[in-house]
């Protein structure tokens, strides 16, 4: 079995090594900023140089509304989308994404099949995982000369830690953090958020800091808000905070307690213009080498175990990247594992509640 899949892989590699004259262009939708830049280095450029296929990238802020519009109007322009897993599950169940056969994914270099090499839950019926990212709370170290914030509780403590807070204009992470700040154990968070009482409590907690919030929507904004001193602390993606701190030499500190683990996936829309090419890209971009490469450009953990073992240094700065990954062992102790199934089924209703709350005076 293992030998057979190795042969397939060798064949595939052979085909990939001879760039055919190819005029197709893959349209890939991703999240922009430092994240997309890391994908460009690790996946897009190597793929183009090996296959000759050029890649056109577009940027979005998540969600499946645009995808739904394209599919329903039979006018799909995207070949590949980078989706958080909950969106992937929801889109898949709504019939917006194509099913993906995971047995065709290449094994690890030492022959471990993809199904065992990928972390649990990172292969979904219409998705293949890429990187583990985390929504974390970060603060400007210079803003707090005395006691430093050290836990999610401090996000809601405007007396001891005054100043504006940057938060994503979505219910994700803030609801979990609101309950966490009441002392709710991590394992109970989603059970409690599933009750009217739990939601009421979470929004009551958010009420306390509502006047201090500056909302952000694009993943690149939080680091910039901190850099521009518009906020003293902000939620955001750990990789972007890391990149900004390194590139701009900024004193951005990450609070790992309560980090919300998430991972991104590739999905192919139903009716995509180049589905075969898109699949070829996924097989290429999620092999051991490519996933490990991405972690040398941005502080996100690969979803393949074999890739995680290869990760060492951040290429641009030369720092050891491992303690900056969400999957670093000491950080995992206090991590909230995002309940993807829960989000996939409830996010539209939870979003409505959140929008209502935003509108309240």
């Amino acid at each position: 079995m293992r030998r057979a899949s190795q042969t397939t892989y060798a064949l595939l590699a052979y085909l990939v090594l001879i760039p055919p004259a190819d005029a197709t262009t893959l349209t890939i939708v991703s999240w922009g900023g430092a994240y997309e830049a890391s994908q460009n280095e690790a996946y897009f450029k190597p793929f183009t140089s090996k296959t000759g296929t050029s890649i056109k990238t577009l940027t979005y802020n998540g969600g499946i509304d645009q995808l739904r519009k394209q599919v329903e109007s039979n006018n799909v322009e995207w070949d590949l989308i980078d989706l958080v897993v909950a969106d992937n599950i929801e889109a898949c169940e709504s019939g917006l994404l194509q099913a993906i056969d995971h047995t065709l994914l290449p094994p690890s270099p030492d022959g471990i099949p993809a199904s065992e090499d990928f972390l649990p839950d990172t292969l979904t019926p219409c998705g293949v995982g890429q990187v583990v990212s985390a929504t974390v709370l970060a603060f400007n170290d210079a803003a707090f000369p005395g006691t430093k914030p050290s836990s999610i509780r401090d996000l809601f403590n405007t007396q001891q830690f005054p100043g504006k807070r940057g938060l994503q204009k979505k219910p994700i992470a803030v609801l979990e953090w609101a309950l966490l700040s009441y002392g709710v154990p991590i394992k109970d968070i989603y059970a409690l958020l599933s009750t009217e009482r739990g939601l009421r409590l979470a929004f009551a907690k958010l009420d306390q800091i509502k006047p201090h919030i500056i909302w952000w929507e694009n993943g690149d904004e939080p680091a910039q808000l901190l850099a521009d001193k518009k906020v003293v602390m902000s939620s955001g993606y750990n990789g972007r905070f890391f990149s900004t701190a390194i590139n701009q030499q900024l004193p951005i500190e990450i609070i790992w307690q309560g980090q919300l683990l998430n991972y991104s996936t590739w999905g192919i829309p139903v009716g995509a213009p180049n589905p075969l090419k898109a699949k070829e890209f996924i097989h290429f971009a999620t092999d051991t080498q490519r996933l490990a490469d991405q972690a040398s450009h941005i502080a996100y953990g690969p979803v393949r175990r074999s890739s995680a073992r290869q990760v060492r240094k951040h290429l641009a700065s030369g720092t050891d990247i491992r303690p900056h990954l969400p999957t670093y062992e000491p950080h995992l102790k206090y991590a909230i594992k995002k309940d993807h199934q829960w989000y996939a089924r409830t996010q539209s209703r939870i979003n409505n509640r959140f929008t209502q709350w935003l509108a309240e005076p």
Binding site: Y182, G183, V184, P185, K187, D188, Y190, A191, L192, S194, T195, R197, G198, L201, A204, D339, Q341, W342, R345, T346, R349
Partner: protein, 574 residues
């Protein structure tokens, strides 16, 4: 067996019992969790399913159909009811060491279905019963060691509690305080081993999280101890109301004009209908328990409604035949009461009180301890879950007062009152329980003078002289007891003249003290007071036939034998 073999045997026996009881507990909890998600009982599955008519239909149908299933299940059980911790206590107290395997198995299945379908019952009772049954089964094999069944019951119960709460010391104390009710080295050592194995299994093999986690808190003001006293006293009153509700509901259920197997279905349907209004009332209520420890989770009147509903619906479910315990409902009722008390305190106090979770935990133990009759266990559970002195001390105060009030006004525990209703009074300690469970039958003697009603007094006299006895028993044609003739009677008759030809039936006196084959040694010993004869007639209650006699000396020996076996067990001399 020599000492070394005996110790090794005990250790292995305890470890195996602990491991199996722990596995059973983990399996049970996982299965209930799986069913709760599948059948839309858990809050997460309900929200994910979405609102709508279908969810409402499921909310009523699932508990009702689950009720029908368990109702039908009990028709296959000899006892016609789910077994519970009370049966384990009885078995340990009478030193029988046995639990019926089939009934226990069916009770466990019934508990999984009850809890899985959202019945408002607890899970610790079934866990303790399963653990005890496993220990009893392992201990029943002929090994040469005495009373291994009883030791096994203690081991299983300890392992179950140690697993469920991640609290091995509480498990050890629970087995002694609630089940075994005495301390002996013979039981203490194996029970400790079993509790530890249960803890290790839960923590290091399965990485099972404790069913309830409490964050450490600090006491703000010494005067708050007064509040904990009030919580203790009031908590006991709530516990008494809860226990009486359970007993009343069980009594009412038998009077309803519906077949017994339909009762749980009715309870389930009512529960489902109430859940349409208050969905949090479904199942074990772990979300509510958590909310009780959070400041501001409830609007003031909500807690009164929820406490009342939880008491009534739990009483309904248990009384009408759902299988499950009273431990977790008591924890929840108590926690909500504690939170309520903390809220009330805010109305009167200007100064800041300690965190609401401290009050919730005090209320929790104040209600639970009188229900299960386990003050030390509840204090230790809190201490082991939090490792926090402030909290454990506050709980201690509440528990002590709660138990005092509960004991005075109700009894040692709900289990004891249930057992008393079934005819076993444990209030006099286990000596009485044991003596009460030894029947007179094995001490009935056939060596006595038995004559027919038509025999003459002369014949009776001849028989007494020949047999060297002072009492003769006269029976009728069918062997029924008519009366007794003593040597004194014959002397008196002789003194009066020639009455030797009278039939014995004319002379025989019916003794004031007659025992029957169902009399226990305990009853016999008490009836013996003021008795001055040689032997007592024992009749078969079914047909009034004379079954034999029992000699005073035999009764005294029976009493001493029972006492001896109890002392031997306590002092590890066997």
């Amino acid at each position: 067996m020599n000492l070394f073999t005996r110790l090794t045997f005990l250790a292995v026996f305890a470890a195996v019992t602990g491991a199996l009881a722990s596995l059973a507990a983990i399996g049970f909890i996982s299965l209930v969790g799986y069913l709760n998600n599948l059948l839309l009982i858990s809050s997460r599955s309900r929200l994910m399913f979405g609102d709508g008519i279908l969810l409402s239909v499921v909310t009523v149908a699932v508990p009702a159909l689950g009720g029908l299933f368990v109702g039908l299940l009990w028709t296959q059980v000899k006892e016609q009811r789910p077994l519970g911790p009370a049966d384990a206590i009885l078995s340990a107290q009478t030193m029988s060491g046995k639990l019926p395997v089939k009934s226990t198995l069916l009770a466990s299945i019934g508990s999984v279905v009850s809890l899985g379908c959202g019945a408002s019952v607890g899970q610790y009772g079934p866990l303790v019963l399963m653990g005890s049954a496993i220990g009893s089964l392992l201990g029943s094999h002929k090994t040469g060691a005495k009373n291994m069944g009883v030791v096994g019951i203690g081991c299983g119960a300890a392992a179950a509690i140690a697993t469920a709460f991640n609290a091995p010391i509480a498990g050890l104390v629970f087995a002694h305080e609630v089940i075994l009710r005495h301390y002996s080295i013979r039981a203490f050592a194996p029970v400790t081993v079993a509790a530890t194995v249960g803890y290790v299994m839960a923590n290091f093999v399965f990485h099972q999280q404790p069913l309830f986690h409490i964050n450490p808190v600090a006491l703000q003001h010494p005067l708050e101890y007064l509040g904990f006293v009030v919580i203790g006293v009031t908590g006991a009153l709530i516990a008494i109301a809860f226990m009486n509700a359970v007993l009343f509901s069980a009594k009412t259920a038998t009077k309803l004009p519906i077949p017994a197997y339909c009762r749980p279905m009715l309870a389930g349907a009512i529960l489902g209908l109430v859940a349409l209004w208050q969905p949090e009332i479904l199942g074990i209520g772990s979300e509510l328990l958590r909310f009780s420890t959070i400041e501001g989770a409830f609007v003031s009147y909500e807690l009164t409604i929820l406490i009342t509903l939880k008491i009534l619906l739990t009483a309904l479910c248990i009384g009408f035949g759902f299988a499950g315990g009273v431990f977790s409902p008591a924890l929840l009722i108590g926690a909500m009461f504690g939170a309520f008390f903390g809220g009330v305190l805010d109305l009167f106090l200007d100064a800041s009180r300690s965190a609401i979770s401290l009050y919730a935990v005090c209320g929790m133990v104040a209600v639970t301890s009188p229900v299960i009759g386990a003050p030390l266990t509840t204090i230790l559970i809190v201490f082991e879950l939090t490792r926090n002195y402030d909290l454990a001390l506050a709980c201690m105060v509440s528990v002590v007062f709660a138990n005092l009030v509960g004991y005075r006004l109700f009894g040692r525990s709900l289990f004891d009152v249930q057992l008393a209703a079934r005819g076993t009074d444990l209030s006099m300690g286990r000596d009485k329980a044991i003596l009460d469970h030894i029947s007179l039958t094995q001490y009935v003697s056939q060596t006595y003078s038995r004559l027919n009603a038509k025999d003459t007094v002369q014949a009776v006299m001849n028989e007494l002289v020949a047999s060297d006895r002072t009492e003769a028993y006269i029976v009728g044609e069918n062997g029924e007891y008519i009366g007794t003739i003593t040597s004194i009677d014959i002397i008196k008759l002789t003194h009066l003249g020639s009455l030797q030809n009278l039939p014995a039936s004319d002379v025989a006196r019916h003794e004031a003290l007659v025992m029957d084959t169902n009399t226990s040694i305990w009853q016999a010993m008490h009836q013996l007071e003021g008795f001055s004869g040689e032997s007592i007639p024992v009749i078969d209650r079914a047909n009034y036939k004379l079954a034999g006699v029992v000699y005073e000396a035999a009764l005294v020996k029976a009493y001493l034998d029972a006492e001896q076996s109890v002392r031997e067990e306590e002092h590890a001399t066997s």
